[in-house]
Symmetry: C2
Subunit: 421 residues, 2 copies
């Protein structure tokens, strides 16, 4: 291993190795990749005690650093959670291999036969924060798609990630695949992140998973293409034709099922004409469930609703809080979402198909829901298997990013001495 | 119009207008977009005299600047070429509209119905060089895909592009679409290009079409995502099982049909065991056709072959020249292409299916040909209609980039008060 204080040299070495591994992985047999993932699951399970011990070191570090309870909970690994990691690895192993899939094929009058087939992207860089399970999920999904991956976990989860990574490498070795297919940056030095963002010669795409600090850094410094993963400023709009029962079910689930996930609702928009018939009941139920409702002027009439301020619009609480506002029309709702949303997931509750169509046509969120809870914004719920995150950008990948979205494609053209006139 | 010496202010104004137009275009009726393109074709044809006059100003400027004959030829607009521009506009008008197309749909056990539908990318920035017809092609393709576009043509074609752009705006007006849907940067100041490359708030993707100078600038400065269009360092490999007749037809067409296009062959690789049976005849034919052949040591035995130097490998001649080299195996050919190619288009000539599979699996060019001329690397020949170029990157778009590749997608999810357990 190189001198770890010379970060540019260290990262260039990691990049070179990743590139070399990617060239091999691009045509690795699907069975070998599946074998590596199953062997990695075996390794994680048999090393679970070591992993828990490594995690204890991280928990000590986190306590010294004064991490919040929520952060500490994300960091924690228990035997149950390690079991989930193993299950995740095996599930990805069992998925269809996307590489080489024929996406389309057609014949041309010239006599050519054209196939468009999936290929790996090459080298993926994943920059994430406290959750150590991302090490396994991201490593496995990238491998499944035939990519080499450079993982850069949060400094809080350093020991846990290192222990999990060792198991992934054990899996690669067992399957005869290059060990450099999944590399973990072996330093907590933050300069490594800046280096990754600029490694255009070695990394094909960066997947950032983290809070505003990381997103901002990526936006400022990235020279490598990025799959944007912004926050989920999720809106639910109750249309004037909203069904009261569906509205209640959807809003309560969207807000309270789990408040800490990116598909949790953060803002409720209510059509003025649905306020008495639907809105009041929904807000009452939210308050009764212990949700803090921050409403605009009109909603102050409902007892228990707090006054919203400008900073509540577009706020991602990830907590038992919701902003709420009365709008005069569906177009006002659309305008509000365009201004304050993050193009992640937004929902309309209505029985009016025209209104639903208008909402879904005029908004350009990665996921638009009609009469369904926004908490369904998840690769597993979409039937895609595991996901590396929910992309909010428009380029290449969008919505839940699974193995298939971690691929590119090429055209294979077959002739018989065919020439162009 | 803003003060044109304050480039940042000018470009921000153009960006704001494009963003506003894009929000309207995203749900413009397919018929309106088609009507705008047909009306633009009518306008181009009825203003053909003005366009030719504007072009004459550019030709004078080009002569003063000492442009090469090839560059002057690219710049020139004749009535015939203007007719082609009109035909191109009408062909794009007649294509299927990609926006709103359902790419996939499926049901989930939860009761959700999920549709993945095409959406526009938003605002596209096109930076190009001397060919004034790109103004019409790029403007039309972006409009078809529901994108607003900011066009920045070469300074040589400034007057021609301005005249063509006026006709596109006439078409937009006739169809009741926002005139800001297709904007042309109204200054030759190069600072406008740097500004575009950094306008992350206003431009979703940059499509650069030009030579090494532009590609280098884009690589250094772009903060906006880019559809990479590198040069076409196109290789043809004659395998040891190459059929002599197919080899001759394919190589002659790939090199000499048109030498100035990006799909023209630039390097010939010959398996040692096919040298006497296939290679010699092909090289003889190239020499007889007036192609300068720059060969490695072994090929010096053939009279008329010049000595290649290191700079010939990976060179894009775009001329009646070709580099040629003898290799010991298909893997040597693959290694050579990996090292010197540009992942644009590469070809194998062989009767051995295993060799063809190996070549097509192990190389990752955007287009791989088997027994077919590399001059087929073209959106029209692929059946995609017009193209804005051939992308050599791996992100989002690859190979010929037509209207469909200028789109993104979103997920539309329908339930019936469906909530997540």
């Amino acid at each position: 291993m190189k001198d770890q204080t010379d970060i540019p040299a260290l990262m260039a070495e990691i990049g070179r190795r990743a590139r070399a591994a990617a060239a091999e992985l691009a045509f690795a047999a699907p069975e070998a990749k599946a074998r590596a993932l199953n062997a990695a699951a075996d390794a994680v399970w048999s090393h679970r005690t070591d992993i828990v011990e490594a995690n204890a070191q991280d928990m000590d570090y986190g306590r010294d650093k004064g991490l919040s309870d929520a952060m500490m909970d994300r960091l924690l690994l228990t035997e149950d959670r390690i079991k989930s990691i193993c299950d995740g690895l095996r599930a990805i192993a069992a998925q269809d291999d996307p590489v080489g899939q024929v996406m389309a094929e057609w014949d041309r009058p010239s006599g050519l036969h054209i196939r468009r087939v999936r290929t790996p992207l090459g080298v993926v860089g994943v920059i994430y924060e406290s959750r150590p399970n991302v090490t396994a999920d991201a490593g496995a999904l990238c491998l499944k798609a035939g990519n080499a991956v450079i993982l850069r976990g949060g400094s809080e989860s350093f020991h846990s990630s290192t222990a999990i990574h060792a198991c992934l490498v054990e899996g690669l070795r067992a399957a005869g695949l290059p060990e450099d297919a999944i590399q973990l940056v072996p330093t907590r030095d933050r300069a490594a992140v800046s280096e990754m963002l600029a490694m255009t010669g070695f990394i094909d795409v960066i997947v950032p998973r983290g809070g505003k600090g990381l997103v901002g850094l990526v936006q400022r410094e990235a020279r490598v293409p990025v799959f944007a993963h912004l926050e989920g400023i999720v809106h639910v709009y109750l249309d004037k034709e909203a069904d009261p029962v569906k509205a209640l079910k959807v809003v309560m689930n969207a807000k309270t099922r789990r408040t800490g996930i990116c598909g949790a609702a953060e803002c409720l928009l209510i059509h003025r004409e649905a306020l008495d018939t639907v809105g009041q009941g929904v807000i009452r139920a939210l308050l009764d469930a212990g949700v803090e409702v921050r409403g605009d002027g009109t909603l102050q009439a409902i007892s228990g609703v707090r006054q919203a301020t400008e900073s509540d619009w577009g706020c991602e609480y990830l907590d038992m809080k919701i902003a709420a506002k009365v709008v005069d029309s569906i177009d006002d709702a659309i305008a509000h979402i365009r201004r304050y949303g993050s193009q992640h997931t937004d929902c309309i509750v209505t029985e009016d198909q025209d209104a639903a169509d208008r909402f879904m046509t005029r908004l350009d969120s990665a996921i638009l829901m009609h009469n369904a809870s926004t908490q369904f914004a998840d690769g597993g719920e979409f039937g895609m298997g595991a996901e590396i995150g929910i992309a909010t950008g428009k380029m290449h990948a969008r919505g839940p990013v699974g193995a298939e979205q971690l691929t590119s494609f090429k055209y294979l053209v077959t002739g018989d001495g065919t020439v162009r006139p």
